[in-house]
Symmetry: C2
Subunit: 243 residues, 2 copies
């Protein structure tokens, strides 16, 4: 039976070269994969098992939820993303991971990881390096959330999502998938769903975007990028120094 292609492998090989051993190890990591459904919590804060995962298909988010039920979306994950490698130092999962769409993932815990650390330390470092990009993005978003107006914040976030989107093979380069509802966009920005709606409405009315659910199109991404000071951290990725 043919091996399903791995979004993670594809991305890694664009950034560095793997030897046969490493490719094999990666393949074994992804051997078992579980299918997961929309809205399912694949990792729950406070639990100690399955702290690490490779998202093989579908979208997921990391959510921080408060006592009053309000919550914030700190990360958005797409196929090929690594989840939880940024929590190595915590004894249990610090925040929830929720599926945004149906999908599939390979799950691990510390014992798998510590095996990998012994047998393929370089590979682990590569994976960690890749996943750290997400936290660089979070810092940009922290700035946006605290220092930009609601509209600029929204623009910044849409650019973030656009830059995440894997090359979908579609010719319309400026059309991208938006896997979040308006309420969820609000949770990612610290705004109300209602206000997000007004902003999106205003943007479409001014012909800045067009919404073609579940897709979206930004009419003048370059202008937006300039305006809100957006950086595409994925394009700036470089892990080749790890020889």
């Amino acid at each position: 039976m043919k091996v399903t292609s791995s979004a993670l492998l594809l991305r890694l090989e664009q950034l560095t070269t793997l030897d046969a051993d490493e490719r094999q190890a990666l393949h074994e990591l992804e051997r078992d994969s579980r299918s997961v459904k929309k809205r399912e919590a694949v990792m729950r804060r406070g639990t100690v098992h399955n702290n690490f995962a490779i998202l093989r298909s579908g979208w997921a988010t990391r959510r921080v939820t408060g006592a009053d039920g309000r919550s914030a979306i700190t990360h958005v994950f797409c196929p090929g993303d690594l989840i939880g490698l940024c929590d190595l130092g915590t004894q249990s999962t610090p925040h929830d991971i929720i599926m945004q769409t149906d999908g599939s993932m390979s799950l691990f815990d510390t014992s798998d990881l510590s095996r990998l650390a012994q047998k393929h330390p370089r590979l682990l470092l590569l994976l960690i390096s890749m996943s750290q990009i997400e936290d660089v993005v979070l810092r940009d978003r922290f700035y946006a959330a605290t220092r930009l107006s609601a509209e600029d914040r929204l623009m910044h976030f849409l650019l973030c999502i656009q830059s995440k989107v894997p090359n979908q093979g579609e010719k319309c380069a400026d059309r991208f998938q938006m896997p979040l509802s308006q309420k969820e966009i609000g949770d990612a920005l610290g705004l109300t769903d209602i206000y997000v709606n007004r902003l999106l409405r205003s943007l479409t009315d001014r012909d800045e975007i067009s919404v073609e659910r579940p897709y979206m199109r930004i009419k003048a991404p370059a202008r937006w990028t300039e305006r809100v000071g957006f950086h595409d951290r994925y394009q700036e990725t470089d892990i080749a120094w790890l020889t």
Copy 2:
């Protein structure tokens, strides 16, 4: 000449056991240290050298600065903290690091790191794991910044700083050092210096805190913790699984 004690080594040894080789490697990493002055930018965004550092004494912050000059403080570093290990995947430093006080640090770049990766992969993983805690804290702060009221946000942040403070050997356990001005606290919270001032004033008037510059005291930290849902991520640290 006697070796100056290393805040980093102390912290690592509380969390796991190092063998003689690793202790030696760590010692060599910290051999050269440079003294740095308040307000000095020790790493500047966009540059490719000295991307990594061990902060040996003093306090520093990571700042994200926008085109209009507004900025946000995403991280606060204290002695023994690792800086830049969370940016492994970026080709250049993504954000500025600024000294908040005079201090000293040991600086590295990717070549040092890739040597370390080859000779002491476990040690590098330990260091990375430790430094990732800071990003877990940032996610908590992201939630606070987007979903809590200004006063709760401020309480949350003060608890964060208090939990960072190294055991100062002082008996007053509830008194801690506050290395940020009100304007800087505002940058860490997404508030104006003026509003931070009003909040602090109100808290002291209600006898919730006392300000004894450069120290500060929270009168009822347990109540605050409950109220804003604060987690002490440093206490939850666990890197012992990396055998």
